[in-house]
């Protein structure tokens, strides 16, 4: 069927195009060349060794025969040749007189005997007593005896030919095996790789279709695909977190903007319904404006937190003097703190520099001081002190604001940094529950973090911030 045919061709094409297949093919070619080379070298070397061996045995034999011919007469030599020539697997012997007629011998040479000069020849011959008259090849030494006779002693090269043939066959078979096994291996590897890739592609297609909880398959073999899939899964987790954060944010925005919006609307309706005098209408409108200002503040804090959770500030960070920021904020709040009976004290290690955005860090610090002023009043008289401290620990700068108030129970410390969480359930104090989460967001934007500690008694809010990169306490303003 043509459809199936093209499908098969398409799938073959897919496999052939893969990197795995191309790599396998390259390795296969290298193996083939290697096998050909090794077997070729083996064949050449074996042939050389065999030749050397044959030459040596013929040399020995001819020397012993020549010695015989020198000692005794021709008859003795012929007798020896006849006897040895009958043995199984013997040499080829031929003794020819000076007219070219055979004196004795066990083989028929297919070359004119008299033309042969003394030395080595390779010539065809027949065993006369064998049924088939197939010509064989022999390596022969031609030796001129003193009597003028020519002695041919040779060795059948059948053995060498058989060896060569078997090596040639081995070469063929091994090539076939290499090609078959290699091809099969390449196919297998490619199929496997393609399978993994296809599985990952299928998963990511499902993720793209909206199934965001789906993850890429990991086979637990810890191979490169697992590592890749692991990393991609981590990325998906992070994206998922961001999405959840966004969803949570929009839920919170919906909730926490709806409430003041409802108040705003209710207030406006009430004013419209009940206000009889200009004065009452004015009051209603002023309340509405105050409510909308609060809304804007919530909205800005939410945006800032969202920004902190989705990115960082790296580009707008500069080396700034912590002392300048801390003392300016302390100085800003000092009259208010004094009025509240909570003296503000500053204890900074000299020369601290942070990598920060002055504006945002100032805002964070102001928030913390504001918080301390709101909740940090001690029941003991004269003990309500707010401390701003700065020190360098392990290459990080720790900026803390501590008060002597009721503090925050350990179980609530994590929670209070979340958006809109207010421990003060009566909500008697002003605020939207965004202060600490905003500070935590700013710390995060700086690549740092915020933690809350027990000041025994009271609360200590610690900002851990990266120290300045250089030594220039830049006086640049955000």
């Amino acid at each position: 069927m043509p459809a199936e045919g093209t499908g098969f061709i398409a799938s073959v094409g897919r496999i052939v195009r893969t990197t795995a297949f191309k790599l396998s093919a390259v390795y296969l070619m290298m193996f083939v060349f290697f096998a050909v080379f090794v077997l070729g070298y083996l064949a050449w070397n074996t042939r050389r060794l065999l030749d050397a061996q044959i030459t040596e045995t013929i040399e020995t034999e001819i020397n012993s025969l020549a010695a015989q011919s020198r000692q005794g007469d021709i008859r003795r030599l012929t007798a020896i040749i006849e006897r040895r020539g009958r043995q199984l697997g013997s040499f080829i012997y031929l003794l020819v007189d000076n007219k070219g007629d055979s004196v004795t011998g066990n083989a028929i040479l297919h070359v004119p005997a008299l033309d042969q000069r003394p030395g080595w020849i390779e010539a065809e011959f027949n065993w006369p007593d064998e049924a088939d008259d197939r010509k064989r090849l022999a390596k022969i030494r031609v030796f001129l005896l003193q009597s003028g006779l020519r002695l041919f002693v040779g060795r059948d090269l059948e053995e060498r030919a058989r060896l060569e043939l078997s090596i040639r066959r081995a070469r063929g078979w091994s090539l076939l095996m290499v090609l078959l096994l290699g091809g099969f291996g390449a196919w297998f590897v490619t199929k496997r790789v393609l399978g993994r890739v296809d599985a990952i592609a299928a998963s990511s297609a499902r993720i793209m279709d909206g199934n965001l909880s789906e993850r890429l398959p990991v086979s637990n073999t810890n191979d490169e695909f697992d590592r890749l899939a692991g990393h991609l899964n981590q990325m998906l987790d992070r994206i998922g977190e961001l999405m959840d954060g966004l969803r949570e944010l929009s839920d919170n925005v919906a909730h926490d903007l709806r409430t003041p919006l409802t108040r705003l609307r209710n207030g406006a309706e009430e004013t419209l319904r009940k206000a009889t005098s200009l004065e009452e209408s004015r009051e209603g409108l002023e309340r509405a404006i105050a409510e909308s200002d609060g809304l804007i503040r919530v909205f800005e804090a939410i945006l800032m937190i969202a920004r902190a959770e989705t990115g960082n500030l790296a580009t707008s960070l500069k080396d700034v003097s912590l002392e300048e920021i801390a003392s300016s904020i302390a100085e800003l709040y000092e009259p208010l703190a004094e009025e509240a009976g909570m003296p503000l004290r500053l204890a900074l290690e000299p020369g601290l520099c942070v990598r920060a955005n002055r504006e945002l860090l100032g805002r964070a610090l102001a928030n913390l001081v504001d918080n301390a002023l709101k909740y940090g009043a001690s029941t003991a008289v004269g003990a309500s002190e707010i401390m701003i401290t700065g020190r360098k620990i392990d290459g990080m700068i720790e900026l803390s604001v501590s008060d002597r108030g009721a503090g925050i129970p350990e179980d609530d410390r994590e929670r209070v940094m979340e958006r809109f969480v207010r421990l003060d359930r009566s909500r008697a104090k002003p605020g939207f529950g965004l202060g600490l989460s905003l500070v935590a967001a700013i710390a995060k934007l700086h690549g740092g973090q915020m933690r809350l500690e027990d000041n025994a008694p009271g609360l200590r809010a610690v900002l851990v911030l990266p120290a300045a990169s250089g030594n220039d306490p830049g006086d640049e303003k955000a």
Binding site: E286, I289, S292, D293, I296, R297, E300, L303, M304, R307, T315, S316, S328, E331, L332, Y333, P335, L336, E339, N357, R358, E359, L360, G362, R363, A366, D370, L373, P430, G431, K477, A478
Partner: protein
């Protein structure tokens, strides 16, 4: 004062120009960046109020075009983008002040008037005088009548800013920006306490008080007697 408002939202633009007119200024409205630039170049305006996101020509590009024509008319940027970087970008493009939407009209007006004053060469005087209160910028000396008043450095800067804008409303955020160089909105009455301290030093035991609170807007230093 002649003010050009470049704002694409018709309702917001009408509101702002009407409010400015009611405050005794003459305000024109341009609905997009191109018209805005044309009007700013041809007219003689004291202050421009430019929205950042405008059709045809974006607010920042309008300001840059204006500055490249060597026009130094002060510009107040109005923007819905209130992040830290956006303000920096706006000021770098040649804007003189930056106000995030939504804003209180009093804030906007106070800033426009402060910008116009900045253009006035008299604003860079060496001494400021309001009634019998005198501030000497070089000697860092403040006197009321014959009496010298000792101020903390920051109180001096606070008074200096108020006196430079004598007779004008100065908002809390303007004070935080110009005296402390922070641009956030202090949530509690931080600035008020500073003002009342300053008032304690300059107005206490004096016949006429000079430092006034303008309800719903900010503060103003002014000699009522005159």
């Amino acid at each position: 004062m002649k003010i050009l408002v470049v704002e694409d939202d018709a309702e917001a633009g009408r509101y702002l120009t009407r409010a400015l007119n009611e405050s005794g200024h003459v305000a024109d409205l341009a609905a997009d960046g191109e018209i805005g630039l044309e009007m700013a170049l041809s007219g003689t305006y004291d202050v421009l109020v430019v929205d950042r996101m405008l059709p045809k020509r974006d607010g920042l590009s309008l300001i840059m075009a204006l500055r490249s024509e060597k026009r130094s008319t002060p510009v107040l940027i109005l923007s819905a983008l209130g992040q830290v970087d956006d303000r920096v970008l706006g000021l770098r493009a040649g804007g003189d002040d930056y106000l995030t939407k939504p804003y209180a009209f009093t804030e906007c007006l106070a800033r426009i008037e402060a910008l116009a004053r900045r253009q006035n060469p008299q604003s860079a005087q060496l001494t400021y005088r309001v009634g019998d209160l005198e501030l000497d910028r070089l000697a860092h000396r403040v006197t009321r009548g014959d009496e010298e008043i000792l101020l903390q450095p920051r109180e001096f800067r606070l008074l200096e800013y108020l006196m430079r804008h004598a007779g004008q409303v100065v908002t809390r955020t303007m004070l935080l920006e110009n005296v402390w160089d922070y641009h956030f909105d202090p949530q509690t009455n931080v600035i008020d306490v500073h003002i009342s301290r300053l008032r304690g030093k300059i107005d206490k035991g004096q016949g006429a008080s000079l430092l006034h609170t303008v309800r719903g807007a900010g503060y103003m230093i002014r000699d009522n007697a005159r």
